[in-house]
C-alpha cells in the first residue's frame, strides 16, 4: 500500500523569480523585515530515533517505546489505516511540493537513562540550556515568572514544572505520555472526541504517530491558579513533530494555557502536524494562546516548517467559553483553523489572530464557529500582515444550525500589506439555518504607505520604529487578548517595541 505514497523528496521551491521592480533606494521597511531568526540554532544531543518512514510497524514501535496500553495502539492503527485511504487537502491557498511521508523520521527523543527523566534534575543539562537560551524558564526563573511549563523537545516532553503545586488543586498538568500511563481512563474518555482520528488527512496522520504533547485536566469548580504553558522545540533533522494536546475543563473550571514553538534553521522543510483538543463542560472557560515562531525558511523560501495543525474546542456544556488567541509569525506554510463547536446553550467562542507572512511564507489560517446551541455567541478578529512576497489568507466559516436560536457572530477581518509584492486573500463563508441568528462581517485592507512612514520620520521617529508602531497599532486589539508575558514576546517577534503606559 505504501507504493501509493509518492517518494519525491521535499525540495523547497527556490526557482529564482524575476523581480518585477528592482529598487535601488534604501528601503527601511525592507531592512526591518530582514531581521534574523534568533531561535535558529541546533542543539547537539544524543537521540533515540526510529528509522525513517511510515508503516504499521513504525506505529507499533512508537506505541511500544511509550509503553502504551493496547486500546491506544489499536486507536493509532485504526487512524493509520484510515490515513492510507485519504488524500491531502488541496483547497488551501498554499503551494508546496508533495511531501514524501517515507522520508520523515516519526520518532526522535533525547537519549535518557531508563524510562526518561523523573524530575528536572535528571534532564540533560544541554537540553535545559537550550530552553534557557530560548527564554523558557524550566528552573528557578519559572518560580518567579509564576508560569507552569511543559517543555517538549522533538518527540518527547523533557519536563514539567509546578506539578506538585498544581496537584494540590487536583489539577493534572503533565506530558501526554505520562497521562496515558497515569490517567488512561481520562484519555480513553476524551481522546479523539473533538477531533476524530479520521477528521482530516493531517489529523489522521497525527493520530497514528503522535509522540507526545501536553495534557491538562482541571477538575470541577477549580480555577487554575497560574498560567500553564507548553514550549515546543523541533531539533532533530528530517524529523516530523506530531504532538497531541488535550485540555479538559470540568464544570465551572477555568484555565489559561499558552504554547510557544521554535525550530533550528535548516535547509530542508520539516513537517509539524499537531492536534489540539479542548473540552469545556458547563460554565467552564478555556483560554488558549499560541505564539508560533517555527523557522520560516530563509528569504528565498529555502527550508522552514510546514505547520499543518488541527485545533478545535468543544463548548460541550452550557455557558462554557473557549477562546483562541494566536500570533503566527513563523513557519514556511501555516495551515491552521482553530475552531469552536458551540454545542452548549449560551456558550461563547472567540478567535483572535495575528498572522504575519514575510519573504516567501504562506499562511492560510482562520477559524470555524459552529453554532449548535441556543444563544451561542462567537467573535472572530483576524489581522493578517503580508510583507515581502508573503501570502496571507483568512478562511473562515460561521455555521448556524437550525436549533441555534438567537445565535450571534461578529467577524472582523483586516489585512495590512507592506510593500507591493505580497498578497492577502479573504474567504469568509457563512451558513445560517436559523432565521433568528445575527451574523456580521467587516473586512478592511490597508497598506503601510510611504506617506505614513515619512510623516512619522518628519516627527523624528526612525523608520524602524515607525514600521513597528504601525504594525503594532494594527495588531493592538489582538495583543490585548494575550497574557502579559506573551504579549511582550509577540510584540518582540514583530519587532515591535512595547507601547508606552499611556494611550
Amino acid at each position: 500500500m505504501n507504493d501509493a505514497i509518492t517518494r519525491d523528496t521535499i525540495v523547497p521551491d527556490t526557482t529564482p523569480r524575476p523581480d518585477p521592480r528592482p529598487d535601488p533606494r534604501p528601503d527601511p521597511i525592507g531592512n526591518f523585515l530582514e531581521q534574523d531568526y534568533s531561535a535558529g540554532f541546533v542543539t547537539d544531543i544524543e537521540t533515540d530515533t526510529v528509522p525513517k518512514g511510515l508503516s504499521e510497524d513504525v506505529v507499533r514501535m512508537i506505541s511500544a517505546r511509550k509503553g502504551e496500553p493496547p486500546f491506544l495502539l489499536e486507536w493509532r492503527l485504526a487512524a493509520y489505516r484510515n490515513w492510507l485511504t485519504m488524500s491531502s487537502p488541496q483547497w488551501a491557498q498554499v503551494s508546496f511540493p508533495e511531501i514524501d511521508y517515507q522520508d520523515i523520521v516519526y520518532y526522535s527523543a533525547p537519549k535518557s537513562k531508563k524510562d526518561g527523566p523523573q524530575s528536572l534534575d535528571d534532564v540533560d543539562p544541554e537540553l535545559l540550556r537550550t530552553f534557557e537560551k530560548l527564554g523558557v524558564p524550566l528552573h528557578e526563573r519559572a518560580r518567579l515568572a509564576g508560569v507552569a511549563v511543559d517543555a517538549v523537545f522533538d518527540s518527547v516532553s523533557v519536563g514539567t514544572t509546578f506539578k506538585k503545586e498544581l496537584g494540590e488543586h487536583g489539577i493534572i498538568f503533565c506530558s501526554f505520555s505520562e497521562a496515558v500511563k497515569d490517567h488512561p481512563e481520562l484519555i480513553k474518555k476524551y481522546l479523539g472526541t473533538v477531533v476524530p482520528p479520521g477528521d482530516n488527512y493531517y489529523a489522521a496522520l497525527n493520530s497514528a504517530v503522535f509522540s507526545d504533547g501536553s495534557f491538562v485536566f482541571i477538575p470541577k469548580g477549580v480555577k487554575c491558579p497560574m498560567e500553564l504553558s507548553t514550549y515546543f522545540r523541533i531539533n532533530a533533522r528530517d524529523t516530523g513533530q506530531f504532538e497531541r494536546t488535550l485540555i479538559i475543563a470540568e464544570e465551572g473550571a477555568s484555565v489559561s494555557y499558552l504554547e510557544g514553538c521554535t525550530a533550528p534553521m535548516r535547509d530542508e522543510n520539516q513537517l509539524h502536524a499537531a492536534v489540539v483538543e479542548l473540552i469545556a463542560l458547563d460554565d467552564a472557560k478555556i483560554k488558549y494562546s499560541t505564539v508560533q515562531n517555527w523557522y520560516p525558511g530563509d528569504k528565498d523560501g529555502k527550508g522552514g516548517i510546514y505547520n499543518f495543525v488541527t485545533k478545535r474546542g468543544d463548548c460541550r456544556g452550557a455557558r462554557s467559553h473557549i477562546s483562541w488567541t494566536q500570533v503566527e509569525t513563523g513557519s514556511a506554510i501555516t495551515w491552521k483553523y482553530p475552531s469552536v463547536i458551540l454545542r452548549g446553550d449560551d456558550s461563547v467562542g472567540d478567535f483572535h489572530s495575528v498572522a504575519l507572512s514575510n519573504h516567501r511564507q504562506q499562511a492560510d489560517t482562520g477559524t470555524k464557529m459552529i453554532h449548535m446551541g441556543r444563544n451561542t455567541r462567537s467573535t472572530i478578529l483576524s489581522k493578517g500582515i503580508s510583507a515581502g512576497r508573503g501570502s496571507n489568507t483568512f478562511r473562515g466559516l460561521v455555521r448556524v444550525g437550525p436549533k441555534a436560536e438567537g445565535a450571534r457572530n461578529y467577524t472582523q477581518c483586516d489585512s495590512l500589506l507592506i510593500g507591493d509584492r505580497c498578497a492577502a486573500h479573504t474567504f469568509p463563508t457563512v451558513e445560517v439555518r436559523n432565521p433568528s441568528a445575527r451574523v456580521e462581517h467587516e473586512a478592511t485592507t490597508s497598506r503601510i504607505g510611504e506617506d505614513q512612514l515619512f510623516y512619522a520620520m518628519q516627527r523624528g521617529i526612525s523608520a524602524e520604529d515607525a514600521v513597528s508602531m504601525i504594525v503594532n497599532g494594527f495588531c493592538r486589539e489582538v495583543f490585548k487578548e494575550l497574557p502579559m508575558e506573551f504579549a511582550v514576546e509577540a510584540q518582540k517577534l514583530l519587532g515591535v517595541s512595547l507601547e508606552g503606559s499611556i494611550g
Binding site: Y455, M469, G473, E499, G503
Partner: protein, 259 residues
C-alpha cells in the same frame, strides 16, 4: 539661518524646482505664495527630506549644516518641522503614543531627559488647551476620522510640542473656516521668537491677515520671481496670479481688472 541657493528638484522625472534662491534669517517669518503647480509643496517636501523628490542641484545650508545631506528624521530631530497640507492617518496608533514617541526622539537628540508618561501628559494637555483640542484626541488613532480642521489643529499641537527651530507650514490654512484659521494663526504667533524661523506657504493671503510676515515671496514655475514686504500679498490678492510673468512684475493695466 536658512540659505537656499539655486535649488533644483524633480519628482518622477519631472522638473519642478528650477533654481530657487531664498534666505530666511532667525526669528523671521516668510510667506511663500504662488499659483497651483508653482512648486510650493515641492519646496516644503524637499526641505523636509522626502525621498520621493530628487534634488538635482543647488544647496541648502541651515545653521551652517548641509541640510540636504541629512536624512529626514535627523532634520526633524535637529528642529525642522513640516506642518503637512494633508496630515496622514495612522490607524491603531494612538495620538498620545505617537506624540510621545516624537517628542522623546527629539529630546534624546537634544540630550534632554525623556518625558515620562506623567510629565508628558501634563505638557500635552496644556498645549491641547492652547490649540483648542479636547483631550479625547489623545486616545484616538493619529488623524483617523479627524475633520480637516481637527487635523490642522493636530499639526499645530505637534509643532508646539516639538519646539522647532524652523517650521514650514504647507497650506495649513486650506480647508479651514475662519474660526479655525484664527486658532491656527494664534498657535503660530505664540511660537514666534527670535530663535525660530517660519516659512508659511499659502495660496491665499487671508492667513497673512493673522500671521504677519516679514517678507513675502512669489513662486512661479519653480523659481522665486518676486519678493517684497507684506503689501505684496495684498497686491496678489487684488490682481490674482494670472499676471505673473517670468519677471514677476505687475503690469500697469492689471489683466484681472477688465474681467
Amino acid at each position: 539661518m536658512l540659505e537656499i541657493n539655486n535649488l533644483q528638484a524633480s519628482v518622477e522625472g519631472k522638473s519642478i524646482l528650477k533654481g530657487l534662491d531664498l534666505k530666511v534669517g532667525n526669528g523671521e517669518v516668510h510667506a511663500i505664495m504662488g499659483p497651483n503647480g508653482s512648486g510650493k509643496s515641492t519646496l516644503a517636501q524637499v526641505l523636509a527630506g522626502r525621498d520621493t523628490f530628487q534634488v538635482e542641484g543647488g544647496s541648502v545650508s541651515w545653521d551652517g549644516q548641509d541640510l540636504l545631506a541629512m536624512p529626514a528624521e535627523e532634520r526633524a530631530r535637529a528642529g525642522l518641522f513640516l506642518a503637512f497640507q494633508y496630515p496622514v492617518e495612522i490607524p491603531g496608533v494612538s495620538n498620545a503614543y505617537f506624540l510621545k514617541a516624537a517628542v522623546n526622539a527629539v529630546r534624546r537628540h537634544r540630550q534632554l531627559p525623556e518625558f515620562d508618561a506623567f510629565d508628558f501628559l501634563a505638557r500635552v494637555k496644556a498645549e491641547m488647551k492652547a490649540v483648542g483640542m479636547s483631550e479625547e484626541f489623545l486616545y484616538r488613532s493619529v488623524n483617523e476620522g479627524f475633520s480637516g480642521g481637527e487635523k490642522k489643529r493636530n499639526e499645530m499641537l505637534q509643532m508646539s510640542l516639538l519646539e522647532p527651530k524652523l517650521a514650514i507650514l504647507d497650506e495649513t490654512d486650506s480647508g479651514l473656516d475662519i474660526d479655525a484659521l484664527k486658532i491656527v494663526a494664534e498657535g503660530v504667533n505664540r511660537l514666534r521668537s527670535p530663535e525660530r524661523s517660519l516659512i508659511v506657504i499659502t495660496h491665499y493671503q487671508r492667513l497673512l491677515d493673522y500671521i504677519v510676515p516679514d517678507q513675502v515671496h512669489v513662486l512661479s514655475k519653480g523659481r522665486i520671481v518676486r519678493s517684497g514686504g507684506r503689501e505684496l500679498a495684498l497686491e496678489l490678492e487684488e490682481h490674482g496670479y494670472g499676471w505673473i510673468g517670468d519677471t514677476g512684475e505687475v503690469p500697469r493695466a492689471p489683466a484681472g481688472a477688465a474681467s
